[in-house]
């Protein structure tokens, strides 16, 4: 029997129960979570690199824009408890990127401008599960939300969707990234409420 807090009623469930993971609540705006200053990388400087395969593969911004793009509408869930439904993104599927890479790895570490990293098992970013997104809501992604491009892994807590992403490092081990080294769960499945170490 959970502990009842006297006089608390709450707003009750909002939104479809099958789309709001445990402990989450809906928001309409788009809150921001970052650990440091917002980097500002120009599109001329920007590249995207996949290392750890037979050969490193790198795209410039223009080359990246020329890759096949997908538009996806997904729900996103932040570990700080908000969820946002039906967000619309455009970008390049990780499957498309990995088609250019000869690799034999089970994990990756995504890295970003500003030093941020996050770790992911390959099986959680392949088969249509993840993208490098550069448009949000039909507009170029704002820097505060991770522009010019961020990772988009909507089925995991949103810290896995690394802002300002610049590359993926393919690895044999699931080495923890930034938040994963600072108290947050190694995988971060919101439906299992894997927020913190040991969840």
């Amino acid at each position: 029997m959970p502990l009842i807090s006297r006089g608390f009623h709450g707003r009750g469930r909002e939104g479809p129960a099958d789309r709001i993971p445990p402990g989450q609540h809906l928001v309409d705006d788009f809150p921001v979570l970052s650990a440091g200053p917002t980097p500002h990388t120009t599109l001329e400087e920007w590249t995207f690199t996949i290392e750890g395969g037979a050969e490193p593969v790198r795209w410039t911004w223009d080359e990246f824009q020329a890759l096949p793009r997908e538009e996806v509408t997904v729900d996103i869930h932040c570990v700080t408890k908000w969820s946002k439904l039906d967000t619309v993104w455009e970008g390049v599927s990780i499957d498309t990127l990995l088609d250019h890479v000869d690799y034999d790895s089970d994990y990756l570490l995504a890295y970003s401008d500003g030093g941020y990293t996050t770790n992911l098992p390959l099986e959680h970013v392949t088969d249509g599960k993840a993208w490098v997104a550069y448009n949000y809501g039909g507009e170029p992604l704002e820097p505060e939300h991770g522009g010019p491009a961020r990772l988009l892994v909507p089925h995991l807590y949103f810290w896995k969707s690394a802002k300002w992403v610049r590359g993926l490092r393919l690895r044999d081990e699931d080495d923890p990234g930034f938040w994963e080294s600072n108290g947050y769960h190694i995988l971060g499945d919101p439906w299992l409420e894997q927020r913190y170490w040991g969840d």
């Binding site: 609540h25 979570l33 917002t38 890295y111 030093g115 600072n182």
Partner: protein, 282 residues
Amino acid sequence: MALATGVRWSFAGKDARRVNSEELLAQPRTLTAGEQRGPVAQAPFRQARLTWLVAEVTGKVDETPRVRTLTLDANGWAGHRPGQHLDVRLTAEDGYQAQRSYSIASAPDEQLAITVEKLADGEVSPWLVDDARDGDRFEVRGPIGGYFVWQDDGRPVFLVGGGSGVVPLMAMIRSSSGSARMRLLYSSRTLEDVIYRDELAEREGHGVEVFYTLTRAQPPGWTGYSKRIDTALLREVAWPAADRPHVFICGSTRFVDAAADGLVELGYEPESIRTERFGATG
């Protein structure tokens, strides 16, 4: 691989936690994009789950008309480091539950306290600010967050808070023995919105310098700043970049970006600036 082979930490008491804290502090704080890391050696993992604890309200302080501090007695709380937060879970009679995160306001050696701002359209904060009274109980889980944390290493500290963003910074001020050189730049809308006003006045000169800016209205004779934080204001208030201060900025996204961008412009290393941004968390 850390998770496969990692030690399963358990907490027998404060000593166990202390050992663990030191190990956590030994983690690298900043990473560079090209850095390869060996996490097994560098980042021992605490695997014990943060369990929900019953917290009982033992006292409350009305800080402003919209902000209240609750002191809590949470049996089993293992302690925290200044800057960390905790999760609150409220349960209604019908079993409905709501969770939110709140910064811890107290120093590690004080009674656990959170300071909560009531959001107009909030769900949890109105209950905590308006309804909770002594003896009421709810659940907490924590401490959470290993990055927005201050540890005194002799370097000066520059704290920048907007509105209720001052709360985790206050935990740092309260944790200081007075030996650390601390400056707080605190932006509020009006004087009535200033949280911890009396305590900050008492602490002023004892290891912390406080600079206020009131962005919406100022009382007659106001001698503090009267504008939103910008590079010019930061230049007047912040430690010189050459002193290599630790920086902690907490507030709304716009506030944090203005302060962080300004400090980078003044030559602060981005890696030295730790931020916590408030979204709408109700």
